[in-house]
Amino acid sequence: MPIDPGVDIPSFDPSDGVPNLFASRRSRLLVGRRGVLVSTLSTIVILGLIVALLFVPSGGAVFRYTFFNLHDLWVAWVGDPHLGIDAVRDGLVTNIWMFLVSEALVLILGVLVAWCRISQSPVLFPFRMLVTVYSDVARGTPVLLVILIVGYGLPQLGFGFISDQSPAVYGVFTLVFCYTAYVSEVIRAGIFSIPNGQHQAARSLGLSHASMMRHVILPQAVRNVIPPLLNDFISLQKDTALVSAIGVVEVTRAAQIFSSTEFNESGLTLAALFFLVLTIPMTRLTDRLIARDRARRLTIVT
């Protein structure tokens, strides 16, 4: 519609003089080398304040003794067989293998479940129904509850192989059961994020549906959902702690045993540090992988 000539369109009137195009004094202070100096200074001040909080107030010593007692941290780490204290460092191995195995299985099954849910093949119709129900159940029940049901329930059934597994295996089974549902939803979203043109281009080359998914759609879909996928994996790594509920002596359990024997919480601090040390590098690594992939594919415009 043409603009009504009677309507006054607001604009800068040059007769008012030169418009101001300069940044404010304050924002000029925060760019370039001066910006680096300012950020360094503010970091030192804030970190200094945090450290001071640990040492200066009257409760500081008690706080340090309760959570950061170096001697107790060490004992919790190596364990003490005479007192029946399991070493946190031994539990660590259990957590690591549990989440590595779980993550591998979750990724594979997650892709399969997502594939099944979006497939239109009539053969898969009953599976699609089952998988939808599964996904609702697995996402709707607390992980701890499922661990208890599986870990205590299955051995009582007396079904041979199914009932003869170690608690750690039941733990892995539960984690895979619960997390596959989340991960499959993430991957499904990733698949939907791929533009239709990609499907068309692949199909018009005469690729089969399976080839198209494997070579064109899934590689792009998974790349697009790496951040939420990583979120789920970090969550899974932390939830290995829940497996302690059915008697697996992993990091959390070992730390708990230490704390209840020695009446000092440094063991728990150690367990917390372990989870942090595990997940933080993983997020940084993924950030770098994403950045490298982007840089390789795109000419970055800033």
Binding site: Q200, A201, A202, S204, H215, R223
Partner: protein
Amino acid sequence: MSNVVLEMDSVVKRFGENEVLRGVSLELRRHEVVCLIGASGSGKSTLLRCVNLLERIDGGDIKLFGRSLTDPRIDPNLVRRHVGIVFQAYDLFPHMTVLDNVALGPMRAHKRNRDEVHEEALVLLERIGLKERANDYPERLSGGQQQRVAIVRSLAMRPSLLLLDEVTSALDPSLVGEVLDLLTDLAHQGTTMLIATHEMNFARDVAHEVAYLDKGVLVEKGTPEKMFGSPDHEATKNFSVEFAKPHPLPGED
């Protein structure tokens, strides 16, 4: 068998209530180039997509090498291996290098040996002057380069028929020339092509036959001389003569 590659007989296609193709008939022989012209929404793209089985027709018949594509025994994937299509938006695979884009079809659809396919792909890329970009990712290429790679990706399948759906419409005017030059080369080498285009000068120079579509009806077809000179129908004249003005910018290449 005769030289007829593609035969369309009263093709009808509907999207719900909307009849997009209303009985289009067209024939394409080996080594022939037919250009489809017409306003946006006239059904040019839909017609191409029906040949490639990306759309199913609702009436009439399309025959490829004398075989009806409506035959239930037809495997769309096999049809598509013989009929290449290039889209307006190139749709290269962004997660693969240029070389892998070109090699994907022959390797995964024809299940051919990787080294052999790569060798052939490099020859094709050399022909369009992009051999040294083989290991780059598509988004680093200009639009014109991407579209030429997309054309080569289709050619790598050695199609009997190449469909081109307004392949220059998304390009910067300065990049149109390099793509049209490639298509002209292909035409001179005898590639059988069905081309939906808005580039009237190109259609006039390259096509053996030009067909004018209007609102899903094939109004008129004939030699470029006739279609751009003295068409029988007033509607064709209004369209083709109006738009067949000299190209504003010759290709820079």
